[in-house]
């Protein structure tokens, strides 16, 4: 099973968000980042720099 998000990063991001989590909620979400982290890792696989996102601004 994948590792969860680094705890210090996790705490920093949620502190920055301002969301008032209890310790139990925080622990549960941190554990569930085991599912999030592999998703993010796969998304950052290298791809051509010219490949634009699907939602580019298109002036009309």
């Amino acid at each position: 099973m994948a590792e969860p998000m680094y705890r210090t990063l996790f705490d920093a991001l949620l502190t920055h968000s301002g969301i008032p989590l209890t310790e139990a909620e925080s622990a549960g979400i941190h554990e569930a980042t085991r599912h999030l982290m592999p998703m993010l890792e796969r998304l950052h696989a290298p791809r051509p720099v010219s490949l634009e996102p699907a939602t580019v601004f298109a002036p009309k």
Binding site: M5, F10, L13, L14, S17, G18, I19, P20, L21, E25, G28, I29, A32, T33, H35, L36, M39, L40, R42, L43, H44, R47, L51, E52, P53, A54, T55
Partner: protein
């Protein structure tokens, strides 16, 4: 008559022939809802005054020979994220518990103008994402085939109400499978239209670049009738393609002779293992469509995990932006499931989101390339029968790849319908996917299957 006809199309024929009265049908729907909803929780609220006023108007048109079409006098429901003028629209959430819109959503307006009768507002997962939740002001909807089971979500109340015969159609929304999962688990039909085909004006958003709105109903034909009534450009919806309304009904009965179909077998056999009944349903569907003249072969798309990653990162990020105004000041008012999912969404960065959108483009191109050689795709509707409602986990949809979100990501039309019943006696289903804006062909193929078999329009004995 003590129950509604099994299909919307049949009710429409009876109304046209003056064999059924809109007021009588409405009263049956209201009585049945009053009797069964305490166990099903399909409705957030019934709207008997609105319903009976609309039904009386429909009946006057019936008597004067001025019916507006096949939806006139038909009892329907609206998912409680569709804004309804003067009727609370709560999103099944404390956050909007007292929200009373002043204007109807475009789809609500479309069906009302066609004469449909609103029986009530149906349950959803909180803001179409957080559920099934047991800590909200209203309980989650239950599956009429077995009330201990999940309906699928998030259009859970509409799915339950249609399957139980409380209404003959209803609205749903589909961001990652929220029309198709309830259709599959409840043994009915549902359509996730092409992105940009149907106006989303007045429908509370979950994820801007994935959300679609569409119908659930007993059969594919019923869905086509409902969908046709809400097509056409809407300058007030910036995501609408502004294309003219396609004719879904004129070709619905034309069958599939010469249609080329690809089966995305690796999705539901290898990558998201499905039960024998689900796979048998797909084989049955292929046999029927082949006998009707289609050519069918297996095709290969990118791995389902690629769609899963991209789909969920986009959904989470966009949902997080939707909820930004409430997230901190009203965090405790959300139910536990949505609360924690939204908190997790704050861990995704802007760079992650853009990478997901870039990968999305690659996936769209990959699917379009495969669909140069086939006109339609087939996939299972859900990998198994409806699970027990208590077993649906808070992060299950993120932890486990699904077979519905790929088709949100690529914006293509998808029809979900029943292909039989599984080992546990509950429905199983399939999806037929068309190219963008070829919704009519996907409906035609699904209708061809329903016409040749007897799975559509069945109701549980409740």
């Amino acid at each position: 008559m003590s129950t509604l006809p099994n299909t919307l199309a049949e009710a429409a024929r009876m109304i046209a022939a003056k064999q059924a009265s809109p007021v009588e049908l409405t009263q049956i729907a209201l009585d049945r809802a009053a009797a069964l909803d305490p166990a099903l929780h399909a409705f957030i609220r019934l709207t008997p005054e609105v319903a009976l006023a609309q039904a009386r108007a429909a009946e006057a048109r019936q008597m004067s020979g001025t019916l507006r079409g096949k939806l006139d006098g038909i009892p329907i429901g609206h998912k409680d994220i569709y804004e309804t003028a003067g009727v609370p629209t709560t999103a099944h959430s404390r956050i909007l518990e007292h929200h009373v819109p002043t204007r109807d959503a475009a789809a609500v307006q479309g069906w009302a103008e066609a004469g449909a009768v609103m029986i009530g507002k149906t349950a959803t997962h909180e803001f179409a994402w957080g559920g099934p939740s047991f800590d909200l002001p209203w309980p989650p909807a239950r599956n009429p085939w077995d009330v201990s089971r999940f309906t699928g979500g998030s259009s859970s109340g509409t799915g339950a109400a249609v399957a139980a015969g409380l209404i003959l159609g209803g609205t749903g929304s589909d961001t990652g499978g929220s029309i198709r999962a309830p259709a599959a688990f409840c043994g009915i039909a549902g359509v996730k239209p092409s992105f940009g085909l149907v106006s989303r004006r007045g429908v509370l958003p979950l994820a801007y670049s994935l959300d679609t709105v569409g119908p659930l109903a007993p059969t594919v034909e019923d869905c086509a009738l409902l969908l046709q009534a809400i097509l056409g450009p809407d300058a007030e919806d910036p995501s609408h393609s502004q294309r003219p309304a396609p004719d879904l009904l004129g070709t619905l009965g034309d069958g599939v002779k010469g249609v080329r179909i690809g089966v995305v077998r690796h999705f539901f056999e290898d990558e998201v293992p499905s039960t024998p009944a689900v796979r048998a349903g797909i084989d049955h569907l292929c046999d029927v469509l082949r006998a009707e003249g289609a050519t069918i072969r297996d095709v290969t798309l990118p791995p389902v995990l690629d769609f899963h990653d991209v789909g969920w990162i986009i959904l989470m990020t966009e949902a997080s932006s939707v909820h930004e105004p409430w997230l901190v000041p009203r965090f405790r008012e959300y139910g536990e499931i949505l609360r924690e999912r939204l908190a997790m969404a704050r861990l995704v960065s802007g760079s992650d989101y853009v990478q997901a959108q870039r990968r999305r483009r690659e996936l769209c191109v990959a699917v379009a390339r495969v669909m140069c050689d086939v006109d339609l795709l087939i996939c299972a509707g859900a990998p198994r029968e409806a699970p027990p409602i208590e077993e649906v986990g808070k992060f299950t949809s993120i932890a486990t790849p699904g077979i519905t979100i790929p088709f949100n990501l690529i914006g293509q039309p998808t029809v979900s319908f029943c292909t039989g019943f599984g080992e546990g006696g509950l429905p199983v289903g399939a999806q037929i996917i068309g190219r963008p804006f070829e919704d009519a062909l996907a409906l035609r193929a699904a209708h061809a299957f329903e016409r040749a078999t007897n799975w559509a329009g069945r109701r549980p004995l409740i």
